[in-house]
Amino acid sequence: MIDLPDPKPTTLAARERIIAGLRALLPEGGVIAEALRLKPYETDGLSAYRQVPLAVALPETTEQVASVLRFCHENGVRVVPRGAGTSLSGGALPLADAVVIGLMRMNRILAIDYADRLAVVQPGVTNIGITEAVRGAGFFYAPDPSSQLACMIGGNVNMNSGGAHCLKYGVTANNLLGLKIVTIEGEVIEIGGAHLDAAGYDWLGLLTGSEGQLAIVTEVTVRILRSPEGARAMLAAFRSNEIAGACVDAIITSGIIPVALEFMDRPAIHACEAFAHAGYPLDAEAMLIIEVEGSIAEQDDLLARIKEICARFDPISLKISQSAEESAAIWKGRKGAFGAVGRISPDYLCMDGTIPTGRLPDVLRRIGEMSDSYGLKVANIFHAGDGNLHPLIMFDANDPESFHRAEAFGADILKLCVEVGGCLTGEHGVGVEKRDLMTAQFTAVELDQQRRIKTAFDPDWLLNTAKVFPLTAALAPAMPRAA
């Protein structure tokens, strides 16, 4: 278990008074304090880490969020924001002396505007819920993390979530127009709105992906896009990772940006095929799923261009889907990848580094060597267009030694990502999981710069403490003095 800061004795001692204070601020049933009912909040998508919180508050309005934060601020109580709890980096892991603020009751869609192509939603609306609300008019919300059935837009904003289609449509930050936030002091502030671009500092850009370090998001204005006429996938299998990587380069440099370009290595192909029976070629070392959009004729044109490029790389097989059903079958294995790996291994860690795409073959080779030396299997899934690598490290959670090895293996992979010019996390966030690796990517000066920004928003470091930044004796850095 990773180090967490010592609970504040004064907060633990005042537990009953804090719970009573919160109950006075929220409607009936808005505070959870019983041990049994706190249990579901002890962890998130990174279930290896667990900590029961002091209490859970479930506000239903921005004003209630503001009053809870004001109360916590006045009483020096730490706060952990939570949406659906799907974070893979432990972003919603509680602290023993923290109040979890669950935003799931704020789950209404407040406005949809097709003329200006936006929707205003509360943070507890699920990612897919936005698309479902606008699908009838032919629109969709573009970022599509794998957890989109469950994950909530408030969490997406805080983690700057991506998805398989962000090569074309961008990540959360590229699809937002405005936020309503509440500061730790309980001030409600509107950022952006229905217009493009910030006059003054880009608070929207800074808050997106800030992992609950700066404020709590209570309203989100997202851009909605018109769905394409159609989409179709193809599958290309190759004799080596190097060849598949070279093929990706050739596609990109030819001027085609597919809407998705997914890479799976041999272990991932085998795991997914055993699970989904998608017809993946089991003799391939590497496989690409390539998706294009447009009318049928446009799909034909693009797929023909891509097929011609793939054919230059001695493919084992090339399969262009002829229908929506065939496309769905091609995607079925990839989308079920996590479940598929879960079937062959009791537990796995899903890593999330990004690398310069040209370094893929080299990085996969070194991950393979690490796999041998750690004695743990790994399957690699890769958003090939944008360099986001998801190694799934398989281990047995009932064996603590196996878990520690998996963690060390994961850390080595992420350090390798940084070493080759990449970064620790492409879309899952730092959370608690990668907190202590931040020194591999940033200098002390750079981390202090980021920490001072947190202090500017949250002077007492009450918001989502112990995430993102390595623990230091004094949580907040010294502010530099004017000369």
Partner: protein
């Protein structure tokens, strides 16, 4: 008035560190083509990054380019064009509009001001494509943000915070951009004779269609007359651009023409006139020459509110046109506090924002050149400024008084 123009980052850091020690304000510049935007800076010393130039990385297969801040934008545009790629946000060259030297602007200037062109409506702003930065903060410390990969959520996103911060937080020394393939060809649908309301409705219909529109603008008759390729219409024009492979551009042009038929018969401009038209729109050339007694505003509102801004601007005797599907109004009118109040109140009433892009210095010094922030946010802004620039020496007052 002294001027420093060091060639390397260590010297830039040293100059800022010394200025901090003496608490001397610095005016940060590249080639100084954007000094007239927002508020004038009171500083004895100019620190120019124009000599800190050069492309340091270009990997077309990875869609990544890095260059030092002083690199002329034109040099980068030519380099990526050579590989069939482009800067995604289509940044404008506002030199003519601002009365400066054309073609001289640097990458650092475009990023520091977050300037984006017509493609912003569908492909994002400069800030969306800044993947990494190197910068020197007001304490003279070198910091890096982001990286050289396309997807990165490691730590706070300082790339977005510094982009568009007009040099008030740090001197950006090097920038890593995502680039994309340039389309094989382009075409533009022109719908003549629509007033602003109908024009923006047509743009909304086009942008809400599944045909990959990449830009959408509306020009009143007088502004269309200033663009050679549009003058022949002798009417206001709604413009819809498509950029893609040739078969797609042909197909989508026809589908859009049919879809928009209720707005009249669209004429389709092919590649060469299309490029000329959108270059003019990008650079705000349809506003025409701006005199010494005139000011220029950029107003961003929800697209459907654009026609209301046009009405206010024209009521003031000004000239204007709309880009970004109606959401970006470019306005020129008499430079006065009264005109400014009328335009900014209209923007505020529509829930939007503004930038005073050009005006006499005395006027710029006395107005809210961008909207004032609510008190709690202004307090945070001041603390964030101090977190980067403890002695408040970098471009003081450039955006807000006292910041």
């Amino acid at each position: 008035m002294s001027a420093l123009a060091p060639a390397d980052e260590a010297e830039i850091a040293q100059a800022i560190g010394e200025a901090r020690a003496r608490a001397t304000p610095l005016l940060l510049a590249g080639r100084a083509t954007k000094d007239g935007i927002l508020r004038p800076v009171q500083a004895e010393t100019t620190l120019s990054l124009k000599n800190h130039a050069g492309v340091t990385l270009y990997a077309p297969n990875e869609l990544i380019l890095s260059a030092r801040a002083g690199t002329p934008l034109a040099e980068i545009e030519a380099l990526v064009a050579g590989a069939g790629q482009q800067i995604i946000a289509e940044p404008p060259d506002l030199a003519a509009l601002l009365g400066e030297t054309e073609g001289a602007q640097t990458l650092g200037g475009v990023v520091a001001c977050n300037l984006s062109g017509p493609r912003r409506i569908t492909a994002g702003a400069m800030r969306d494509h800044v993947m990494g930065l190197r910068a020197v903060n007001g304490a003279g410390e070198i910091i890096r943000a982001g990286g050289r990969v396309l997807k990165n959520v490691t730590g706070l996103d300082l790339c977005k915070l510094l982009t568009g911060s007009f040099g008030t937080l740090a001197a950006i020394t090097e920038i890593t951009l995502k680039v994309l393939p340039a389309a094989e060809t382009t075409a533009t649908l022109v719908l003549p004779g629509l007033d602003a309301q109908r024009g923006v409705a047509a743009l909304a219909q086009a942008l809400g269609a599944p045909f990959g529109v990449s830009a959408a603008a509306w020009l009143p008759r007088a502004q269309a007359a200033r663009v050679g390729e549009l003058a022949g219409f002798a009417a206001s024009v709604a413009l819809v651009r498509i950029e893609d492979f040739r078969p797609s551009v042909l197909y989508r042009g026809e589908r859009l023409r049919a879809l928009l038929s209720e707005f009249g018969a669209a004429e389709i401009l092919d590649e060469a006139p299309s490029r000329a038209v959108w270059r003019a729109v990008r650079d705000a050339a349809p506003l025409g020459p701006v005199g010494g007694h005139d000011a220029v505003w950029r107003v961003s509102v929800r697209p459907s509110a654009g026609p209301g801004i046009v009405a206010v601007a024209e009521g003031l005797g000004g000239r204007c046109f709309l880009d970004w599907g109606g959401g970006l109004a470019w306005i020129t009118a008499e430079a006065s506090a009264e005109t400014h109040r009328a335009i900014t109140e209209a923007a505020r009433a529509a829930g939007g924002v503004w930038w005073l892009m050009r005006a006499p210095a005395a006027l710029r010094a006395s107005l809210d050149v961008v909207p004032a922030e609510p008190a709690p946010l202004a307090a945070i802004a001041r603390r964030v400024k101090a977190a980067f620039d403890p002695a408040f020496i970098l471009n003081p007052g450039r955006i807000h008084v006292g910041l």
